[in-house]
Amino acid sequence: MAAESKIDPMHQFQISGISGAIDGSPFVFTNSALWMLIVLGSITLFMWGGLKRQIIPGRWQAAVEGFVEFISGMAISSIGKEGRAYIPWIFTIFVFIIFSNYLGMLPLSVVGPHPFTVTSQFTITGLMAIMSFAIVLIVGFWKHGLHFFSLFVPHGTPKVMLPLIVPIEFVSFMVRPFSLALRLFVAMIAGHILLDVFGNFIVNGITSGTAVGYAISAISFVFIVGVNALELLVCGIQAYVFALLASLYINDAVHLH
């Protein structure tokens, strides 16, 4: 076994400064910020290409309209007619998540720089979850006042059960932003760790130069193709689930069960 390298799957999530070091100055342009700008740029390009307002849409405009109609249909079917007001926020998080997921999957490291998955950072997903939760709280208290607390009392609960039900409902309500953020970030981390580990298996097997090493490389290669396909699916599903759950939570605030 020659030149066996240690596998370090967590290295790809490290935030490093592009201009200057992270330790001293509070204002550092990091790789995370760079990839957020790239995500913003590609979203702008994608949406701008679809805003031609032709009566018979071309392919690009049809793609953008498909995105918008998908999200507005989801918001209206889960919130109702009032859901139109929340489409901008739900569409924003959906498009941001799906673009950063897919841009993080790009195999750019074949030619040079490693892509950085923005949504694999808890700060990013946590911020989006907290903002969705803040919308729920603000809308709930704005529309219903203190009556919003009846969210913790499901319909038809016997009076005897209230001391038990209300704390459970309260905890399940308060844990929502946490679970929303955790789901997306851990799903991204897990997928990228898996890809990194099996990619390292391929390289280590080839550099070992033995027949067993080549066999392991071949098996790992077949496996990593399948895992890549699965990851592409998970990227889409996670963005959809985040947007769907955000709209369901808003529905709770608008309609109180």
């Binding site: 967590m10 989801m74 079917s77 889960s78 679970s179 955790l182 789901r183 851990v186 799903a187 981390i189 897990a190 599903i237 959809y240 689930v241 769907l244 759950l245 369901l248």
Partner: protein
């Protein structure tokens, strides 16, 4: 047993939860297919609920994975 060995064993035990969650996710999709094949007309309207169930089942597996990672890297 020194701490390093205990950590690795603990992370491996925590990873069992990921496998159990995979059974949960399979159950969600399997049950959906059972219902959908009996009444295909009603299937499309239930896709939102399908993904809510999937998200709830998957979250628990991801939490198990997060526990394993915390044991390995953060303790």
């Amino acid at each position: 047993m020194d701490l390093e060995a205990a950590k690795v064993i603990g992370a491996g035990l925590a990873a069992i939860g990921v496998g159990v969650a995979s059974a949960g996710v399979g159950f969600v999709f399997g049950s959906f297919l059972q219902g959908a094949l009996r009444n295909p007309g009603a299937a499309d309207g239930q896709q939102g609920r399908l993904f809510i169930g999937f998200a709830a089942a998957e979250l628990l597996g991801l939490i198990a994975f997060a526990v394993a990672m915390i044991i390995l890297y953060a303790v």
